[in-house]
Symmetry: C2
Subunit: 135 residues, 2 copies
DNA sequence: CTATCTGCAAATAATTTGCATGTAC
DNA sequence: GTACATGCAAATTATTTGCAGATAG
């Protein structure tokens, strides 16, 4: 196994990932493919998997959806809005401590993924406004 | 919309779910279908989705895998072994408090899913034994 | 040069869906 | 009896893969 090479495709995939806010692989493909129609689906999936494997990006599985990719490497959780589906980063100050403290039955914990779900601020306000109109 | 009906299929799907330990929908299908070949894929997926929607079971998305179903409704996290893939329940005493305390930016948290990943006790021992043999 | 990458298109695999029939209540 | 459920098979959707040609180092 040799060293990974830098290619235009990898750069484009990474740029799209940063720009797109927790996108799925398919969303990254759509974004890259729009400006560079010759870039193929296979390449985007391969590049994203490679990034995830090398730790360059994080692969996140959220509820009831496909795998998403996150360029923010610092440990953090996610808030997923039940209404609009938006994913918000949630930084927990004692994130590592929570993970470390949860070890039990000899399970050696190496990392931790957390997703909160609920309603984001924007959707809360919208719902409040709508129910005010009904009354 | 009428009330949900009790059918043999639903009972079979639920029984398989309890027996199988965090199975994917496809695993549930395989299990049910083996003893009752007439039960169809579509039914198993529909029944599991219905259970998840009604809150009768919990749908869990773990890293890099398909959706899994969990009949344990009490709030808990999961430990997923990097080596053998086994999923262990992890009960956190202050689970609700963690979720509640993490609210920020107006995100209204309704629930929380946590997955720890690492190596389970069995795989740790096995690896230790193997490295001892090499030395 | 040559090991790695890429594009393409076809293959998998999970999940969903339309529709006619079956069945719980 | 009728509304909800099921079986079947075909359709979708996400992701993977084989292979020949392109290219980074």
């Amino acid at each position: 196994m040799g060293a990974a090479r830098n290619t235009r495709q990898k750069q484009m995939v990474y740029d799209a990932l940063v720009r797109l806010d927790h996108p799925t692989a398919t969303q990254v493909y759509a974004c890259v493919h729009e400006e560079h129609p010759t870039v193929s689906r296979g390449t985007v999936f391969r590049v994203l998997s490679g990034f995830a494997e090398s730790g360059q990006v994080r692969r996140v599985n959220l509820f009831g959806s496909d795998a998403r990719y996150d360029h923010t490497l610092a440990p953090h959780a996610h808030g997923r809005c039940r209404v609009c589906g938006w994913v918000q980063d949630v930084f927990l100050p004692d994130f590592a401590a929570i993970a470390a403290g949860a070890a039990s039955d000899g399970f050696c914990i190496e990392g931790c993924e957390v997703e909160f779900y609920g309603v984001c601020a924007a959707c809360s306000e919208k719902q409040m406004r709508e129910s005010a109109n009904e009354a």
